[in-house]
């Protein structure tokens, strides 16, 4: 089987992406439904997301600030920002493994655009992110951190993260539908990535090894592009540059693959 898409494949893939994007009301609604369904009949509802995040950050913040001999007044806000952004990245990647297999009911029966389900997934994770991010201003208020202008750089960072998330979801979704071991592999990669990414520790603690662990680690790049400004520091030019390159690479790989395999996804379900 050749992996080269025909012009017709391209045409249909582009139509799929266009229809997927323009059906925003559908993926928006599906994402809201996902969240509502998860917390239906619960008193606190989706704010369980916020509460469990607060509990984690509070607990780990206390323990690790002692362990790393860090001042809790700087460590806890740092951890809170990083962990909130990491949860978004991790959530998108983990959910991506089931993006098509969990939508089989729709895909097998109607000609719905495949990309619509990627948008639904990203939207759902954004809603969770919106619940999590509530704790950041609270933590900042608690430790008396005053916001500065650098924080605005988190917005372009967030846009970059979402632009990258789209091909990631499609790519992981396709591979996971075809090869059923992928979700487990990805789960393991994420577990290791959590420790190799500066979420709980700081880059300067790493010393001379830092450029190797952080400089090209895609998780670290996309984490820092959002989290660093929120921590009051502009990301380095290197971080921006690598992020751009990674996005270009992701689209260059996923585009043709999606064009070629789009119609096959339903057959693998």
């Amino acid at each position: 089987m050749s992996l080269k898409p025909s012009p017709r494949d391209w045409q249909r893939a582009i139509a799929d992406a266009r229809q997927g994007l323009s059906a925003w009301h559908v993926w928006n609604l599906l994402a809201m439904t996902d969240i509502r369904q998860r917390y239906k009949r619960s008193r606190v509802g989706p704010f369980w997301i916020t509460l469990s995040m607060a509990a984690f950050v509070g607990g780990i913040g206390l323990v690790y600030s002692t362990l790393f001999k860090q001042d809790i007044r700087t460590y806890l806000p740092y951890l809170a920002v990083n962990y909130v952004v990491w949860t978004l990245i991790q959530g998108i990647i983990m959910d991506a493994t089931g993006v098509f297999s969990s939508s089989g009911v729709y895909l097998r029966q109607e000609a719905m655009p495949k990309t619509l389900f990627a948008m639904r997934l990203i939207m759902r994770n954004l809603i969770m992110f919106a619940h999590n991010i509530i704790i950041i201003p609270l933590v900042f208020l608690l430790f008396g951190i005053w916001p500065d202008w650098e924080m605005l750089l988190a917005i372009p960072g967030m846009i970059m993260l979402l632009v990258a998330a789209y091909p990631v979801v499609m790519l992981i979704g396709m591979i996971s539908t075809r090869f059923r071991d992928t979700p487990v592999i990805i789960q393991n990669v994420l577990q290791i990535a959590f420790f190799l990414t500066p979420i709980m520790w700081k880059v300067d603690q790493l010393g001379s090894a830092a450029p190797f662990v952080v400089g090209l680690n895609p998780f670290a790049i996309f984490l820092r592009i959002v989290a660093e400004p929120m921590n009051g520091r502009a990301p380095s030019l290197w971080t921006w540059g690598v992020a751009f390159l990674m996005i270009a690479l992701l689209y260059a790989v996923t585009g043709p693959l999606f064009a070629r395999l789009r119609a096959r996804i339903v057959y693998w379900l």
Binding site: Q37, D181, T182, W268
Partner: protein, 259 residues
Amino acid sequence: MASIILENACVEFPIYNARGRSIRRNLMARVGGSVAADGDVVSVNALKNVNLRLTNGDRLGLLGHNGAGKSTLLRVLSGAYEPSSGSAEIQGAVSSLLDITMGMDPEMSGAENIVLRGAIIGMTIPEARERIPEIAEFAEIGDFLDLPMRTYSSGMNMRLAFAISTAIRPDILLMDELISVGDAAFASKARQRVQELIASAGILVLASHDPKSLLEYCTRGIVMEHGQIAFDGPIEEAIVRHGMEIPEMKKETSAVSGA
């Protein structure tokens, strides 16, 4: 303007066993040479070289034994399955009443489900919201509208699913057996709704084992055998060819004569 053109459409399902779907197996095959390289991918030919042209006004009946490819063909016509080889060009809004409960969520209320399902089948959200009362009234769910669907009786469930699914007027209507829902009173109301849908649809494709409904709604018939079209012609001949008898019936005037 609705039209469907299938040219040499084949649907071939690869059946990967557990090994075929694992990356290890795939890597091994690449690393360790070609030991039984494609020995474990079995494929099922659900459709073979199907050629079909349908235009506005066509009323097609699908006949065939179980497993002959009727459902697969319906899914190709809906656009969900794109042929693994050959082509399928489908123009017009398709409504497939194959699984009318698709996308409904038992935890959500009837009203929420109307909006959700409505959006999936092509309504805008304001439009879906606006039509909640009308759909609920048709489904006769009364005060249950704002309760979660898990509290519904199975009859209410089906009535609501039916009311939503038939709330839009498609260009192309696909059905797997005529839907019959509810008690006698509702069934006649539902029947009338289906007839209206059929009358307004450009193309109807009805898969059925019931010669009576095939004769009533269809003019052309296809007999499927082993994933291929074994016969294509007038519905009466298709029914005979399929080995069924043409039932005695009065020609009902409600029968549809093209849109």
